[in-house]
Symmetry: C2
């Protein structure tokens, strides 16, 4: 009779409840893991997986993965996190770790890919096309930097040499991963249709991505001080954080247009922005940009890790054969990244760098999603069980990675 529903039930109220629930769970899980001397991030990831599994049995537990609002904040969380990580370093500091980062990235793509390929070739039924093994190998070469970045922050090691090499290698990895995916997808299409390798698209992909990074780190650095000097002429209050974020999000968007992950653009924005550019605004607002961004990271990033865990489909994963395949693949992928740590070279703790490269997270999942769309002779390239196994392997590296990195960092003290 009366449209009370319109006035009383705000659809956004449910989002608020989900967020409140998510923060409490994230903090409790983080506490548990911290007391077990494990990284907080690993606790948040595990809590996400557990919640998703529980939601299937107890539907009154909120479905985090289905909440639009939580999804938006989680996506924002990893972008803001990588911007904050970028703010902790400068371009010259990153150039100094350029060579070790490049070596780590190259080995960290080649070794896990070779080992993943070998593992798939040995474990999958004979007669499986070579391109399937190759694609599984490609999925193993991804690096999800958000997780390691958070562990490095937790342990106060973001601005250590190892920390910089890890982040630098992960950025290069993003470009290499783009290339590998283009190449392997091209190979699959070519082996199906008998056509030539797509060298044109390959060169274009590489050129765009490298061009964006080069332009951002050179022209960007020249323009940025002028941009923020202009902003300083505004009289309004609270300019620093909204305009700083606007700058980061703009670069994230532009980088994505050039084929890079949004987090790479946001990280580049953080690298470019240096305290010297902001000194007037920071003086006016009596806080540095890093101080202002900290509460945002504290609120948003737990949602990202919780939701990354919650997006796992436990039903597809928990069969003995799939779990076994996943465990072997994860072990091989882990070994490959661990070997890459030695690429860091003189004086750097290779185990820290290696463990930092282990988590595959959402980057590996993007590879799998791309593979799920590929066909070979009218059949999907990856069978459902193969796909579940690869996802399981990615998940294992994502949970084990922060644990290993946390241990390696503590050992060095």
């Amino acid at each position: 009779m009366i449209p009370m529903a319109l006035l009383s039930v705000d659809p956004f109220a449910h989002t608020l409840m989900v967020l409140a629930f998510a923060w409490v769970v994230a903090k409790l899980a983080g506490e548990l893991f911290q007391r077990l001397k494990l990284p907080v991030v690993a606790g948040e990831l595990a809590a996400g997986v557990a919640l998703a599994a529980l939601h299937r049995k107890l539907p009154w537990i909120p479905d985090l993965a289905a909440s639009e609002g939580a999804g938006v904040l989680a996506n924002l969380g990893v972008v803001v996190l990588m911007f904050a990580v970028g703010l902790e370093s400068t371009v010259p500091q990153m150039v100094r770790v350029g060579m070790p980062s490049l070596r780590v990235a190259l080995i960290g793509v080649a070794a896990p890919m070779a080992m993943g390929l070998a593992g798939a070739w040995l474990l999958l039924p004979s007669g499986t096309p070579f391109t399937v093994d190759l694609f599984i190998g490609a999925c193993m070469c991804a690096t999800s930097i958000g997780i390691s970045a958070q562990v490095l922050r937790e342990q106060g090691a973001s601005d250590s040499l190892e920390g910089r090499v890890i982040v630098g290698a992960a950025v290069i990895d993003d470009v290499l991963g783009l290339l590998v995916l283009t190449l392997v997808s091209g190979l699959v299409a070519a082996s199906g249709a008998g056509g030539p390798l797509p060298l044109g698209p390959l060169a274009r992909t590489l050129g765009l991505a490298l061009g964006f990074l080069a332009l951002a780190l050179t022209a960007g650095r020249t323009l940025t001080p002028r941009l923020f000097a202009l902003a300083n002429r505004l009289r309004s209050e609270s300019l620093l954080l909204p305009l700083g974020l606007a700058f980061a999000f703009l670069l994230a968007w532009l980088g994505n247009l050039a084929g890079l992950a949004t987090i790479v653009g946001a990280y580049a924005a953080g690298l470019i922005l240096e305290p010297a550019h902001l000194v007037d605004l920071e003086h006016r607002e009596r806080h540095s940009l890093e101080e202002l961004i900290h509460p945002l990271v504290a609120v948003l990033s737990p949602l990202f890790f919780l939701l990354m865990g919650a997006k796992v489909d436990p039903a597809a994963l928990f069969t003995p054969a799939t779990l076994g395949f996943a465990a072997v693949l994860a072990g091989l992928g882990l070994a490959g990244k661990w070997v890459a740590g030695y690429g860091a070279g003189n004086g750097l703790r290779s185990s820290v760098v290696g463990w930092g490269m282990v988590p595959r997270g959402e980057v590996g999942l993007i590879f799998v999603a791309a593979g799920a769309q590929l066909e070979l002779g009218g059949q999907p390239l990856l069978s459902t069980s193969t796909q579940a196994g690869v996802v399981g392997a990615l998940l294992l590296t994502t949970i084990i990675g922060p644990v290993g990195l946390g241990r390696a960092l503590r050992k060095g003290r």
Copy 2:
């Protein structure tokens, strides 16, 4: 051939671009209005209206109202803002302004409703059912507290007596508005069907809303110190802000279940939480909750005001007849709220209080939306042009309100 799109185009990248654009526009509009000695909020509202109108002509201008991500952050923005406003006062302080607030709220519902009703009765074609005039009057009694709260913050008057009376009256207004809407909707249904007045639902609505507020402000105040003492036993870092927000969002959700707007619950949460409850956590994290929440408000609340403006449909509004009707209604609605300011009584600046109650914003729009669903004898209660006129009146009060409040606050100095 290659599913590049999957890897390269992150659907969230567009959201990042929209947000970057929104912050830059909000800051520029705020700057312009500040230089014109007008409130920043009014600039953000006007920029939102302008952007929505421009988007119709120049489709490359991002459509803020259509962005899911911006919508989530905007909704969050007003909830976080009202939580922050609540933090600036305590329950005893609000009890002290209880009587003036109640007087202001009661006059602020009765006077605009009577004047809106009279205006509609005079301006609408004869033969218009009385319930239509009554409903239009009801739409005029709403108060959107977010806007005045932000102006009060801008001018450093949130913790003035007038500021507290305004917020207190707005909270009472939310309960009264709920009642008025239930009553008027019931009258429409009763006059259509010839049935009795819905006294049962009316009593239930009032009981639930008052019950929630009473429980939150009494039991809530006893439980909260214990809750945060528990939280203090956790060893994790960055607990204060996520758990503080979780508390606010939980109360917003519960309040909404009891029929109140989410912002009322969030405001109640802020009132309940007192520095004494948080002293241990604030000491550990070396920041107060108010300091930590400030960057969030700075980032989120401009999005709320920008989007409130962007949701206006200029096409429905800009006809001479509609504009005239809207202007008269707005003037009457404004006068009604302005009269209510005198309810504040001894020693308080009635013009400040009156202007603070003027903006109708989204609360009025919820009334209109409820009215749009009502039918009278098989016809919609409000015709399209009547509805556009009421929306126009609400919009006018929403833009003029902060301007008047800003002036009134400055005059008092």
